[in-house]
Amino acid sequence: MLSENEVLRIENLSIQFGGLKAVDNLNFEIKQNEIFGLIGPNGAGKTTVFNCITQFYKPNQGSIYFRTKDGQVENLVKHKVHEIIRLGLVRTFQNVELVRELSILDNVLIGAHIDFKSTIVEQALRLPRARNEEKALREEAEMILRKLGIWERKDMIAFGQPYGILKKVEFARTLMCRPSLIILDEPAAGLNDVETAQLSEMIRTIRDEFNCSVLLVEHDMRLVMDVCDRICAISFGKFLAKGTPKEIQTNPVVQQAYLGTTEEDEHE
């Protein structure tokens, strides 16, 4: 199912919307501490794969094996959306889904939702366990914010913060659950060149400091080629190629999919 150094393996993944095969028999695997890129032209099915892994969509066929935080192997397809994070797999959103009215620190603490053990009554009355938990997780959140360099802003409201900061807050939120795999949904969207360069630096920092793997679903080739250890290219839901950034860049099939041939032009 899952060999020693792998954290995620997708086997024969297929999903169909009506007559459209959005993902067709896809296979790939992500190793531990690897930054893995999933690329493809518009409409290739990248986001669909993403949503299948995080269980927002239920695939028609195939398995998604994942090594959880405790080292067990689970088939994600058997889990509900809100259970995925408990296993140690967490995602970000393309257009940064934070709560505008909450402070940055509170937004990060949303990421610790699953770590709270105290009951409603304990929280309503602020009994010792609820208080201690809140305090400990608050400290952890501050620690993460410090590592990402935005601790000074912890008490500011998320609304009105620069986009780059919000992205960092979202990263901080994913790190709260001590994940073994983070999936980033087009993190470079809306960033300028400088910010994209900072982003690749941050993705590496996250991998090294928090000891996790990263799956990058991305449009921006500069970022993908810069930061990824390995890349899987897909087009129209089908597997095209897999390999290091160099190999992918020189792969004729990938080039064809991106630059198009006369046949592909008709499709678009």
């Binding site: 809100h82 505008r100 009215e101 949303i110 939702h113 699953i114 309503a124």
Partner: protein
């Protein structure tokens, strides 16, 4: 006292007045003392105690609605129905069954809460305006039943109740019932504060912000929608119980759509996601026309229309709730005394 000591004691004092729990307790004490003194010294009519008491009772139900709408982003137009149901149940259990007030309170809160949780189940399937209509339907069904089930509600003639006896030996009258209301309100405010500033509150906030993001963070939507609806109904039911034992009557016409809309107005005017704002809103919607606008000569006939005008003005100038007026006042004050440290109001 040396200079240093003076500074630390000042600092201690500051941390005390900034402590939210002490603030709630101070707020409760003000609510207890001011109306009592005012009526003792004939600043206003004794009857105003009833008006203030009822607006505080409404504030409890409005706090529940604020948890639902403000924090969780779920709308309900059923608050009045649940409040009414609790009021009839409590009256029936104490008067007809002769059971103690505590038992009545428990049962009269439990039964509406079960119905409220069922509505929460429905809310997973329908959203927004449709949820508003569905909750409105529940409320109207309840109101219609208040007219029909005469064995429980005494129909249009209204159901009578008495001031409660606490623990079997503390017989309350109007003044002490008012104290009891303030006590319950402060407890409800404290619980709301704890809930909305902890894990549950953050989950509710996340759910309002984006359901997809909330789920990705491990928030079980069903569970948290049920929690929100349960809290809203519990608060509405508590408020219904207090109402019937304070006014000592419950009529079907009291629990109409108008009251549900009033609750909505209270939290929008006072401040969405603001605990003090909710109380302020209840006061403006319910007590202000009665206590102040009626006093204006020549205008006493149209005090409720004036209140409508006031509401429009509030929404125009304080769209996030009148509670923000205090921050503006504080800033003006700081400017006047020249501290120069003007904190900018963050509009939520």
């Amino acid at each position: 006292m040396s200079h240093k000591e003076k500074k630390t004691s000042e600092k201690n004092f500051r941390t005390y007045i900034r402590n939210p729990y002490l603030q709630f307790i101070a707020f409760g004490l003000i609510l207890l003392i001011v109306p009592t003194l005012a009526s003792n010294f004939r600043f206003f009519k004794v009857g105003y105690i009833t008006t203030i008491g009822v607006s505080l009772i409404y504030a409890i139900a409005a706090l529940g609605l604020n948890v639902l709408l403000g924090w969780s982003g779920l709308i309900s137009l059923g608050t009045a129905g649940f409040m009414g149901l609790a009021s009839y149940l409590s009256a029936y259990i104490t008067i007809n069954m002769g059971l103690p007030f505590e038992v009545a309170m428990f049962a009269a809160v439990l039964i509406p809460t079960i119905i409220g949780i069922l509505v929460g189940l429905i809310s997973l399937k329908i959203e927004g305006l449709y949820l508003a209509i569905a909750t409105l339907a529940v409320s109207e069904v309840l109101r219609k039943s208040f007219e029909e089930f005469e064995w429980l509600t005494n129909g249009f003639s209204g159901k009578a109740a008495s001031y409660p006896t606490l623990f079997g030996f503390i017989q309350l009258d109007r003044a002490s019932m008012y104290y009891f209301i303030v006590f319950v309100l402060i407890i409800v405010m404290l619980i709301t504060y704890n809930i909305v500033n902890g894990q549950i509150g953050r989950a509710l906030n996340a759910m309002r912000g984006s359901e997809a993001a909330a789920q990705a963070m491990g928030v079980n939507l069903l569970r948290y929608r049920l929690i929100a609806f349960a809290m809203a109904t519990i608060f509405a039911a508590v408020s219904g119980v207090l109402y019937v034992h304070f006014i000592r009557y419950s009529y079907p016409s009291s629990w109409s759509l108008k009251l549900s809309l009033d609750f909505l107005a209270m939290i929008v005017i006072g401040g969405l996601r603001s605990i003090y704002g909710t109380v302020l809103g209840a006061f403006i919607v319910f007590a202000v026309p009665d206590m102040f606008l009626k006093q204006i000569p020549y205008f006493n006939q149209i005090s409720y229309s004036l209140n409508g005008l006031l509401i429009i003005l509030v929404i125009m100038f304080y769209p996030n709730g009148l509670v923000y007026i205090f921050k503006d006042i504080r800033n003006v004050w700081r400017k006047v005394i020249g501290k120069g440290k003007v904190k900018h109001v963050v509009r939520k």
